[in-house]
Amino acid sequence: MSVTTTDNLTGQIVSAVQQKINVKADPLRNEALQIFQELGLPAPKHEEYKHTPIARYLEKNFSFAASPASGPLADIKRFFIPGVDANVIVMIDGVFSQAHSRVISPETEIKIQSLGEALAAKNPVATQHFAKYLDIRNNSLAAWNTAAWNQGIFIHVPDNKVVETPVIIYYISNATAGENIVVNRNLIVAGKNSQATVVEKFDSTGSANHFTNLVTEVFVDENAGLDLYSIQHDLNNRFQHNITEIFQKNSSRVNTFTFTLQGKFFRNNLHLALDGEGIESHMYGLYLLNSDTLADNHTVVDHKKPNSFSNELYKGIMDESSKGIFNGKIFVRPNAQKTNAFQANRNILLTDKATVNTKPQLEIWADDVKCSHGCTTGQLDEEALFYLQSRGINKDTARAMMLYAFAGEVLDYVKHPQLKDYLDSVISDRLHKNF
């Protein structure tokens, strides 16, 4: 690799990491930092990042110098989802805030603690699953995270426990004093026959740029069910790279929801490994972009064993000069016969300046499978608009009706009533729903 500014940037990040964390004391961190250094940030021609020049975004907007301490945050509750009884975890600038967090479910039902503390105490579940599913050799952001994460949440739902109360993790970046870099690492383990819901919501205050590198590893044991929500609805100074690495065992059920509604830059890597039979996995995504937001969803579903089902529905509306990117890979391994795998990506472009790049990638080595994919990109259906207008509905309302209907298909799959109400209100607001 030639010496480019990307390398300089990588070097700056490495020294920033070394200043904060004694990586030499931990073989995994040390190895990860070396890998990060070797790989560097994805270069502009990197196949997986070609529409998402993360190095350029970071270089242009961050110095990676030590950030000044921000003052205390007032009025955290304004970021909370209203009307939901939840186990609330608050992370401020990547640091767990005991003062603002509140777990109401009994500890016999769900264990929520600091991942660092769980690992230090040699918690057997945490040590069994930590860093087992993330591949740090092929993704430098994963390596960076593994070398540099300072805090994170470990959630363990023991076998046979059904947790009705969702866990909501609020990540709040305080960007009032200057730029702000957060590197968090979570681990979620859902025991056999368990059931839980985890919601992540990202917010900030202040006008400086802030970047979050978040990795969440998830293990879903036999016959367990897990719903994961990521609500990305911040201000336009948020830059974020997410990796969600999910490993599923026999007859487990996972639903993921990724709502990207506002921010500057989002890259969501969602990887599901279906290592069992009778698994059901649903991936839902909705990205409503405006301004110059870039949102990139890269998903991989890997059918490793026979008789499982995966379904993916991602929809996007791009307004102004926003950029949407979707890449959906489906792997069906040679012995994963009787696999059902479906994927759909639908996009609406509202302006000439908005763009979307969509790419399905199916690699199927088994012969007795049902797989399908479809992607569409278009403008708002003029004939439908005319139809609504011809009944006396003004053009703005007609547009809002159609956009809301388009987005609503994803919202329909949200089962939790208060969460659905909240998302509905945010989406209605974004689409200027007035009917």
Binding site: D381, E383, A384, Y387, L388, S390, R391, G392, I393
Partner: protein, 251 residues
Amino acid sequence: MLSIKNLQAKIDDKQILNGINLEIKAGEVHAIMGPNGSGKSTLASVLAGREEYEVLGGEVEFLGKDLLALEPDERAREGVFLAFQYPVEIPGVSTINFMKTALNQIRTHRGQQPLDAVSFLGLMKEKMKLVEIDQSLLNRALNEGFSGGEKKRNEIFQMAMLEPKLAILDETDSGLDIDALKIVANGVNKLRSKNNAVIVVTHYQRLLEYIVPDFVHVLYKGKIVKSGTKELALELEAKGYDWIKDEVSVA
């Protein structure tokens, strides 16, 4: 009510309407007939304000207003209703929500209070009977997965709900079997009054047996070449359109 003078219009680079003149008074039913490609549906579309059509000249006055200066939704709020030849399927938009939004925007324009949910549903039930449309159909997304007949009945249901002053039925009979045709025609007839007018655009005389017109106009090459009463429709049914074409070429 409606006064069309020398209306000319084109789509893409093709002029379709070559000077239409037509006067319609309240209480009248006018049938527009003509061979394929004569401009019947274009006329309906231009009156409703479809954007693809460009008006090249002429005037259309509707209840004292310059209709051509209005947006499609403004025309609808003034009382124009187009029953589509091909009603559009709109997934995700519920028929009930759509109808409530439309009706209340029209009511607001007329200076009436918007209907609350209860009164709206009451009105809906009443109008559903008129076109023998089932509630389960209206609980679905707008026209999504409806059969051809169901779509056309939904058009007349919407017309009944919105109570337009001028209804334009664009080939509403196409794709209907005789039973559906009777239901649709019956619905239209019940909505006829001395205060409103109907334009029935059709290729065949069949529909006019059930919606009896006061006047019949024959459109050919973008002009009205012959006008008469309902007997003209019967004559066209018996003799086809060729004699009209011959008459025009002789003239």
